[in-house]
Symmetry: C2
Subunit: 377 residues, 2 copies
């Protein structure tokens, strides 16, 4: 396990700044904050307390007591709020305690009735937004796996033959669901988890012919002129996510796909120009949208809602690219450009961009080609 606990120094600074006694986080299972603070996942609710420069974890007796370097871990089967109060009590029986504003209500009431004053803090979101070298490397490793997943989809589409415009692969009609499974196989071979986030779709294209796959009646059989959007967001073993989406067309019958793809590609490049340290996040988002518009396309509804934002242990974290934030070196940001049209479908590109002191780069810099045969692994 290369990832140990993180965030202690930032918590201490926040405590110092607010003249507070301690910090409490109560979380469960795949909670990314808990993963950040402990380097682990838990199947059950556990309690993290930072007090007097030390990290403490309280876990129920139903799970194995983990050994985490730098974190004092004990069994405590009391309700989480009481367990937290017990840890704090060894330092002081009153004082200000910082916690995320979403701390469970029952725990907050326990802490208040034990004599502490609760105050909310955004410190976890803030510290997680700036990645260290190990975190950045972890995301880049997952992004390489993501690229292999997308490459598998490109390979299948490039290999497909056509039967009256319907795509056929490996002896059977090629559906979105068949590609999705093959992409997930490629991700599994790379040792990452698909995280339920792999999708293969044909945008808003009207379809009458659907096929019922074994467990997914929404699987659509593809035609040669469909723009096929393949999107993955796998999770590595250490919990870090990446995100990559590409659109492929086997045999375009019109110019719309190519023109829309050029617009998305150009909008993607805008991120590389604008998203340096110190840039205003909302400005970057609006410039990406403006570039799409400059090519005569409206950004798709998806991009109108979400042009991207921080990625790490969560798929969506700080900073949002629409937010009132200044980008900083260490931010790692998902960037989405997309154009959609009720008749023609959707073109979408998603990448992950790391912002360094000398500017942004796309992790792994995967190709953007619309032609699956041109997509190198």
């Amino acid at each position: 396990m290369p990832f140990g606990p993180r965030g202690g120094d930032a918590l201490d600074a926040a405590l110092d700044d607010r003249d507070a006694l301690g910090f409490v986080f109560i979380g469960r299972g795949p909670d990314p904050n808990l993963r950040y603070l402990t380097g682990r996942e838990f199947d059950t609710t556990v309690v993290y307390v930072r007090v007097a420069g030390e990290s403490h974890l309280r876990v129920p007796s139903t799970i194995e007591t983990p050994e985490i370097p730098g974190v004092t871990t004990r069994i405590d089967d009391k309700p989480p709020g009481k367990a937290a109060a017990t840890v704090l009590g060894s330092e002081a029986t009153s004082g200000t305690v910082l916690a995320p504003q979403t701390i469970p209500h029952d725990a907050a009431l326990h802490l208040e009735s034990a004599g502490y004053d609760l105050a909310s803090t955004p410190v976890l979101n803030e510290v997680r937004a700036v990645k260290d070298d190990d975190e950045r490397a972890a995301i880049e490793t997952v992004q390489r796996a993501a690229r292999r997943g997308i490459a598998r989809a490109a390979e299948i589409l490039a290999d497909a033959t056509t039967d009256d415009r319907t795509l056929v692969w490996d002896g059977a009609p090629l559906s979105t669901e068949r590609i999705r499974r093959q992409v997930n196989v490629a991700l599994a071979i790379e040792g990452v988890d698909a995280a339920g986030a792999t999708s293969v779709d044909v945008g808003g294209r009207e379809r009458s012919g659907k096929t019922a796959a074994e467990d997914d009646t929404s699987a659509v059989v593809l035609r040669a002129d469909d723009p096929v959007v393949v999107s993955v967001a796998p999770r590595g073993r250490d919990g870090y996510r990446s995100a990559l989406a590409r659109t492929f067309v086997v045999d375009a019958d019109g110019g719309w796909e190519r023109r829309a793809h050029v617009a998305c590609d150009a909008a993607r490049d805008v991120a590389l120009v604008e998203a340096g340290p110190g840039a205003d996040a909302a400005f970057v988002g609006s410039e990406i949208r403006a570039e799409t518009a400059a090519f005569g396309f409206s950004p798709s509804e998806e991009v109108a809602r979400d042009v991207g934002g921080g990625i790490g242990l969560s798929l969506r974290e700080s900073p949002p690219l629409d937010g009132d934030t200044e980008l900083a070196a260490g931010n790692v940001v998902r960037v989405r450009t997309a154009v959609s049209d009720p008749e023609n479908g959707r073109i979408e590109l998603v990448d992950v961009m790391a912002i360094d002191d000398d500017g942004p780069t796309f992790l792994g810099d995967p190709p953007t080609s619309l032609d699956p045969a041109a997509w190198s692994q």
Copy 2:
């Protein structure tokens, strides 16, 4: 998407019982309660309110507004507590509002300052513990995929050759990590998500020789006499989990493995005898442990902590097999039997049991054989 919203009737009954105005749930992303209430997953925080026999969902403008049959969905970018109060306000401006006791503290404060009295309810845990036919079928489908995953591990172990007692497969030393990836490939082919829950290990066996796999330095090269515990808990596309673990030995050099395996298998059978509707859950747990002891083995630490419990949208949910609960028809329960020994390693079997009116059955009833060559797919 075969799974729509659930739980409305149970919520209405709880509201009626407590003379309450409405029920509020605030959740995010993979939250299983949110999945249960809406049939969906969300990347962001959303608000569910049940009031006047109707379900309402409030989502931020950053995500696509989902269309869910029977759920009135609107965009609301206010903080979750305020959004919930707005929905409740269309019915009444005061009254008792039920919520899980872990409702986010900031939302609870918003609701209270808006004039509502908050009261906690365990109704979600209770209703989720009793599965309907569709839910049971969903878990059984995932368990069939889990079986294919375990079968892949058995196949590899059965095919492996030995080189000075080290297992060799496909031209290279066979490590736990290589098996883990192959199991995940098999799960991906079945269309389910490994959910980060696949593990392949040799129990507590002492080892000096380790190999560094690409991204996991803890991968252990296997020997012919290692009891290899292969454990999976995949998630289907509709969110339901299953759990299956088997232990294989390629070439046992002592009798311990066989005797320990017989004990675990017998303890597993005890569940089939004891776990009918109306049985005391804690009694079932203690009987399973007692059977292991009757063969002269102490249940492993893992089983001492966790002999099993409800499984569904969560890997661990109600009823726990150690809890003060009565089992009921409709419960679906994970059952774990295991024996460990510092010198010999660990034997473990995990299954999922459905409890029907006429008694319990193991879903899919997969074989338990210790010999990988005898494990049929």
